[in-house]
Point group: C2
Amino acid sequence: MTASIANPSPTKRGRPGYDQESVLSIAVEVFNMHGYDATSMGKLAEHLGISKSAIYHHVPSKGDLLRLALDEALVPLEAIARDERASKGTAEERLKFFLRSTIRVLVKRQQYVTLLLRLRGNTEIERDALQRRRAVDRKVSDLVVEAQQEGSLRSDIDPRTATRLLFGTINSLVEWFRDDGDVTSQQVEDHAITMMFDGLHKRAQ
Amino acid sequence: MTASIANPSPTKRGRPGYDQESVLSIAVEVFNMHGYDATSMGKLAEHLGISKSAIYHHVPSKGDLLRLALDEALVPLEAIARDERASKGTAEERLKFFLRSTIRVLVKRQQYVTLLLRLRGNTEIERDALQRRRAVDRKVSDLVVEAQQEGSLRSDIDPRTATRLLFGTINSLVEWFRDDGDVTSQQVEDHAITMMFDGLHKRAQ
């Protein structure tokens, strides 16, 4: 009620009400809604309710917005490999750690990962991001091969096909998971891991 | 070599070299590449190397092209439920039949299913197609519930989450499966079914 009289929390930089983070979070939604290519800075300004020049106060260009948004997905995905649990234990344990951690990033950074997954590679920034994504994917693919070799995973499934199907299962989450739904993110994580490793069949007791 | 002198196979209708089917097949590629909304009839004509009026010879509007293209995916998906194997045997057997048949449609109609999966529901035609897709999805979801009740599928996974993950696994195929790759469509079908039902874990002998 008093907010219009005195602003109790003035922002430190940029236009009142927006900092770079919130510009980014709205930009990524607009990119996902209309597609990156089809989103002009003018359209973005409209969605933000500010002028184009006010956006340029936060970021130099649309490409920079894209790069920053993709980093929101890629940086935590790349961090998984640097966690000590990514290099401890059997290949199966490490693979599970990778997949669980990936699911967590997907759920926490849903909009940013959606943007990453829909990239078409039309620009240098997009191609660079796709290359970083492929490097992350390759780590999972290597772990599938290693887990087959150690004998914990079945070897009658082609490892590249298995990796593609694992990512298919996991990546679909960004399309349908809702934080306010009936199923918590912890349950979805557990269900997905169970299904991928043990399958839907009821096992003999 | 002689094709430029005498055309040995004149098309029965439309412009030489194109019938409705080939216009459709190129249109769906262009829609998938640039997005349906961003594809004008002018851009389409450019890709086809014919005039706009030549396209109108085949279809009355861009919306009709979309509707016809979506039918190429939806009609065979809807036909699965009418196959007699869809109503014979245990719920688990029927579910497997549904999923195997869905994979076959995805592989055979890859471009058309891609278009269907990327729909945003901006127009009446898109919303109608999404509704038909949801009706197909619901049949799978019902079978998961039934298979859990008959005791063939584990009941510790929420059936809606399981259905979403099954479609995630299967639908990803349209993004990566290549007919000329190392793995045949039959192998991909078998690997996907094995993974979804039995999981990647090596089972005790």
